[in-house]
Symmetry: C2
């Protein structure tokens, strides 16, 4: 049995965040996808804007690792993970939960990131 | 500084799930709140139906514990936790992420539970 495609997408995403693999990031999202990160902030629309969003993240030296099971139901995958920025140079750690919503082609059409100031730690 | 009211509500909820404290559960929700558990299933509307939902959960011998940081942003608290049913008697373990959405009175107006068959383990 092949791996659940939503679980595979999440694992590819976490790996791409750490290896700064923009091809993998772009491949994950539908062309008309949206990002709300964190939830409550302005929504980023479309793949061009999404790529610019991750360019900024990559330039901050981002790395990421899963921090618990990927919860999968209906067309969603929801997963806890930990982001580290600027490792070795004023490192910041953020505990995040992302909600991916998929279309029928297993592409992410919506990413919502839940985190706030209480989820940030600095050395 | 008093505790963030969203964080306090989540901690009260997890405790109430384990102690089967229906008064605490009822106090957590707004009168017109909705529950979708798991996401994709029929929505439960209003406090009377919500209480019946938890009566069923309590009758299954539910207990719960947090499984990571509570993520707080905008009017949401999103948190990973583990539910155990029927401990000692065909125990079932479910890894869940709940999304609470609050009104201005710090009452939960929407609870969405993200979990699927991949998140269930049995002995």
């Amino acid at each position: 049995m092949s791996k659940n495609p939503k679980l595979a997408a999440v694992e590819q995403y976490i790996k791409a965040l750490t290896t700064h693999d923009m091809v993998a990031i772009a491949n994950l999202y539908a062309d008309d996808a949206t990002i709300e990160d964190p939830v409550g902030s302005d929504i980023i629309n479309g793949k061009d804007a999404i790529i610019r969003f991750y360019e900024v993240a990559f330039s901050s030296g981002i790395s990421a690792r899963l921090d618990g099971a990927v919860r999968i139901c209906a067309n969603h995958a929801v997963f806890p993970f930990i982001v580290e920025l600027n490792p070795g140079n004023g490192e910041m750690r953020i505990e995040v939960i992302d909600q991916f919503t998929f279309n029928d082609d297993h592409k992410v059409v919506s990413m919502k990131a839940f985190w706030g100031e209480q989820n940030i730690t600095t050395p």
